[in-house]
Symmetry: none
Subunit: 205 residues, 4 copies
DNA sequence: TATGAATGAGTCTTCATTCAT
DNA sequence: CATGAATGAAGACTCATTCAT
């Protein structure tokens, strides 16, 4: 009995995820989910109290990861230049992103591209806001630790880079077919590009 | 009579633009546009054959600019390294972007953020695809002209930078309140960052 | 065209009135009104913005009369004992009630018996409250004018008589088939009963 | 086991009573009763076959009293004038009412005000009908016993007084906060009013 | 050109009740 | 005695679009 319930729940979740991904949240009706899953329309409400909750449960794990990512951003163990210029550090961050993308690429597409008209339609913008705030705080710390560097970066530019971060997640999620080699290659390119950019911007050496 | 028609048309266009911007394409009903503009609901269909066309006409000028931007990308006068590494060149490109953003910031927000459920919901993704294609072609040319450089950049990375380009438009459009000085400052930051990144990636010098 | 519209409006109003009367407000669905009237379901909303408004428009004239009745209650020209003890005065009041009941007997049944679950479900209780208030004020005046009488009637008893007033409207509306003679007879009985009661209660003579 | 059952039954009954009183019969769902009581939704149907039966059982004691009241009406020991004109007799009847109201004021409110859309929505009207019938029969008896009196009261007037009887129950139930003194006072007022009215109407002395 | 009326399929959600276990 | 799952009909209301005038 519990088994049945779990199956139904998962079936609904998967059906909804797929449908949302194909047509966007707003364009998928509960009727549609009912027909696609074979679960009676009203029965759905025994498992999820609303269409919004269906989306919420689908997105929950990803949302948690995204929030955790934000936390880690400002607490890089020893506060240092590394976050911008160390290839190893950046490579580590990227690897973590890759793990998230691998696990949740569907959810990412859903959240990043198809969640309009849902309660999460502004989630990314708010995430970028929060990330920008963290970046500004971080820069202030750097200003004290490395007065010799150009740390007077505008909030606006920091927002742009936060946005690019989101962009990278989106792009990698969109191209799920990447082989391990290709991924490795992209990582190398990305790391060189970013460190080159930050070093020049901050006058490192 | 023709005068009346033009006025009505413009009124409808402006009303729709504002409404779409505030609530998103899908969430705005034709009834709403009718009430806000004072134009009879069914009369709207004498000017625009559908809700989609209303959006199309609103976005048309921006769409043209976007397409033109794409054209220019691959024909940079003399095909050269400048596109990546010359600060002047990049500054020039950016200035052009700024002009577009200034003129069409409303339309950009509309297209970039609020066009889900419309026929343009995939426009940006396709634009990025086309831009990526152009970039790949460009890189191939560069490989011949500058065999000493690392021009073996993955299509995936090129797509990422195309996406970042779109991102920059979005961010600047979102922050319309930027003063001339702030804009200038951002341009400097951006140019340094991008040229620094590309130079390192391509082993220039 | 305007003719058509008015007809449709009236048709809807009459259909709704009948249906509400037969089954109660809550138990009648918009679908039902649509089918009974032959007006397309969604077209109804071109005439009435909601089910509640449909009921409101049906009840409006009666509601106005009820409010007016309340106003008149406390301003009986020359404030006097008549309101309780004069057969002529009471007969006059009653005749007015009869006119209202004759004109709006359907609406009365609707408001008094079948409006549960609508926005008017508490209307009568509030009316009785207001009427009680007026009666208390009236009694206070009487106390000054006729100190020799027993005007020390409890608010609770006054509320009871207000409620009986409503009762009388309900009963007469319920029995629309009363002939003129029967009505006349009831009036006589009622007048004798009420004046007899008040006189004894107030120690008149 | 039987003990458990009884507890559950009572719990359900009390929960339902409270909920019905607060929101009205129709507005309370079985799900709600289930949640409020902690009894599983479908388990409710092991105790009560339907939502209507739940209401029935809640109202049963009051319904019995109401029916008994009706019986007593026509069998006043010695058939006499007292029923209308003896203050003691009326006071006795009223005291009985007070007892009922005290014991079942919640049920009265439920039956009188919140039972729309249930099988008891017409109960009061039917009770008034039956009461009217009894009154007519009673009057016929009186006509034989007291030919000197005006016993030619219209059925319609008798119905009105039956309705007022119900009204009095409603009013007293609605104002449960009445102190003993206030109740006593109201009783005095009511008795004087009613006997005064009937005496005048029937030409007693 | 302009209007008000009309359409029909669609939205999410709730209900009392029943079934299998 | 108790449970969670399931059902099917119904609820009010909205939508983009078309029709007749």
């Amino acid at each position: 009995m519990q088994v049945v319930k779990d199956n139904t729940r998962k079936l609904l979740l998967n059906t909804a995820r797929k449908a949302f991904l194909q047509k966007g949240y707003k364009a998928v009706s509960m009727r549609e989910i009912s027909k696609l899953s074979g679960i009676g329309l009203s029965n759905i409400y025994n498992y999820f109290s609303s269409k919004d909750e269906l989306l919420t449960v689908v997105l929950r794990p990803l949302l948690n990861e995204m929030d955790r990512m934000l936390e880690r951003h400002n607490k890089p163990g020893g506060l240092s230049l590394d976050i911008f210029t160390s290839e190893d550090y950046i490579r580590g961050s990227l690897n973590e992103i890759m793990r998230i993308v691998t696990n949740y690429h569907q959810e990412i597409k859903l959240l990043f591209l198809y969640s309009q008209s849902s309660m999460y339609q502004d989630y990314l913008e708010k995430w970028i806001d929060r990330c920008t705030e963290k970046s500004v705080e971080y820069m202030d710390e750097m200003k004290r630790l490395h007065p010799e560097l150009n740390t007077d970066i505008s909030r606006f530019f920091l927002r742009y880079t936060s946005s690019c971060w989101i962009d990278m997640m989106k792009e990698t999620a969109l191209h799920e077919e990447l082989s391990h080699e290709e991924t490795e290659r992209f990582l190398n390119e990305y790391v060189r590009y970013v460190t080159g950019g930050w070093k020049k911007l901050m006058n490192v050496e």
